[in-house]
Amino acid sequence: MIIEDNALLRVEGLRKWFPVKKLLFTIGYVKAVDGVSFSIRKGYTLGVVGESGCGKSTLARAIIRLIEPDEGKIFFDGKNVLKLKGKELLGFRRRVQIVFQDPYGSLNPRMTIYDILKEPIETHRIDIGMDVEDYIVSLLERVGLRKEHLYRYPHEFSGGQRQRIAIARALALKPEMLILDEPTSALDVSVQAQILNMLKRFQKEDKLTYLFITHDLGVVRYVSHYIAVMYLGKIVEYGPTEEIFNNPLHPYTKMLLSAIPVPDPKQARQRKKEKPIGEPPSPINPPPGCRFHPRCIYRIDKCNKEEPELVEVEKKHYTVCWLYSRK
């Protein structure tokens, strides 16, 4: 299975359906996350890729309990996160932090950088062994900002600088794991590279574990050790990064990879095209059987009837597709 026993974070059968209401009646559910399982070992990065609306962000929010999932288990360091309350929950929050996609929305416009970075320290009363101000300045310097920035407001910074502040806030509590919800997709390409390199450096220095959510395949290849491909609330393929890129199994993964633009037009024409068909269907009442079957070019008879099961095709390389089923 995808789940390893010695992992830092284990997610088992996570499900979150949002009811769709019309007047007083529930007419359906948005199956944002529908039975997702995976695990991440300490110090590794798992990249989660997928189109918009496939449930990536819901997954991130459910793991740190900003959203309460309907079903499933989340184990962090052996403890079931969904059962935590009060002080234990606070302790979990100290160890797992999140960085959001939009650095313009994630910082309170009425607080100075000092106040923003002081908030986590104040909330957890952690032992930092020095003056709070000194600690905050050291955080700023770590993310590449200067102490002169301390008493300024967020609107005085660029997008990249704001994202650095958001990362500094997440790092303030010396967490063990960061959930990065598209941390670079709102930034310029040059700034993206700086932020990604910084995140990689912090991972090495602090042995951080990352759950890196993105729709950018280039970014995910650069930062991740493992990749999980999500489609309509389910993981359809999972494996080591290079293995996924060199030998994609699931038709959806193939389609995604073929959609990466190639700079050379000749090469682009020659490249075997896995032509994507249509748009992802609505996550309300997704198609029966394999959810990808209406867009799949390799579709076989049973695809729209039975849901395929997870199979390990290569070592540690899993997919959910009838083409690889042994039956």
Partner: protein, 311 residues
């Protein structure tokens, strides 16, 4: 490294550099808006008169001088009586000056009741949602479904005609508007990423409301309250005009207009000057409110800043 950090963060001025800059910008926007400045001047005069008005009147605004009543009665404006006199020979200038206090008192009392009630209920309804929200909002809907003035008249008539009942009646009508505004603002801020980030950090609910939501709710509330000040003065004058609210001999602008109606239009000054007082006061609050909205909107402020940079 630690030492030079310390030396940098010493003075208050450096610490609050960004805040000072922000205040400067606000002042700058204000200075560039002649309308807001006019509003501020009118409102300042009104407030000063409301505080010291009754002490600086040239004549007693309430007492009737029976000895001179007959010859002083209903005199047109002159150097002796700037606004003329009423049917009892009282100086109307003195009565209008003294009337500022009643209007100020009523409007302040209404704000002092309606704003906290609106703030608390709006924050609760907006942040917690669900059943609590439903209950609070349906009750406010009931209040909002009547025209404000009609409801105020009904309350005021039930409570008996006096300044106090007018205050209570107007407050009862006024709070639902603030609940709406605060709830709406709370709902949108609650879903902002910075509130989510605070929750992810583990900040307690009460701190999230105090630190993240309240400061962002209070700005539109200040603007709305400023704009409403004029309306409250109008409604209280209307109540007094129809005989509810302030009772004779209390000098109240609405009441003065009502009393002067009998002599209109020959003795025009009797209704004209109290009307003028209401007009300028309400106008002043509205202009100030409009100005504040621009000043407190950071986006508007930025525009000014950029223009300045281009020079």
């Amino acid at each position: 490294m630690i030492n030079n950090v310390k030396s940098y963060i010493k003075t208050w001025k450096q610490r609050n550099e960004a805040k000072i800059k922000e205040w400067r910008l606000m002042l700058e926007v204000f200075k560039r808006s002649p309308l807001a400045l006019t509003g501020l001047i009118f409102v300042t005069i009104f407030i000063i008169l409301g505080i010291i008005g009754p002490y600086i009147t040239p004549y007693d605004p309430i007492k009737i001088e029976f000895s001179t009543m007959l010859e002083e009665r209903l005199q047109p404006p002159s150097l002796k009586h700037f606004f003329g006199t009423d049917e009892y020979g009282r100086d109307l200038f003195s009565r209008v000056l003294a009337g500022a206090r009643v209007s100020l008192m009523i409007s302040l009392a209404v704000m002092a009741i309606a704003i906290p009630v609106g703030l608390v209920l709006g924050l609760i309804a907006g942040y917690y949602g669900g059943v609590v929200d439903e209950i609070i909002m349906r009750i406010t809907d009931v209040f909002l479904s009547f025209p404000g003035l009609v409801l105020a008249i009904a309350f005021s008539a039930t409570l008996g005609a006096s300044i106090w009942s007018a205050m209570i009646a107007i407050s009862l009508v006024w709070w639902p508007g603030y609940v709406r505004v605060v709830r709406g603002q709370t709902l949108s801020i609650k879903q902002s990423l910075y509130v989510e980030a605070a929750r992810a950090i583990g900040v307690s609910t009460s701190k999230i409301i105090r630190r993240h939501i309240l400061p962002n709710v209070i700005t539109p509330l200040i603007v709305l309250a400023t704009l409403d000040f004029g309306s409250v003065i109008l409604v209280s004058a209307a109540l007094s005009f129809i005989g509810l609210g302030a009772q004779p001999p209390t000098p109240e602008w609405g009441r003065l207009i009502a009393d002067g109606r009998r002599w209109f239009p020959e003795k025009w000054w009797y209704t004209f000057f109290p009307g003028l007082a209401i007009f300028f006061t309400v106008l002043g609050w509205n202009l100030l409110g409009d100005g504040l909205r621009d000043i407190l909107d950071p986006r508007f402020r930025r525009k000014i800043e950029f223009k300045e940079g281009g020079k």
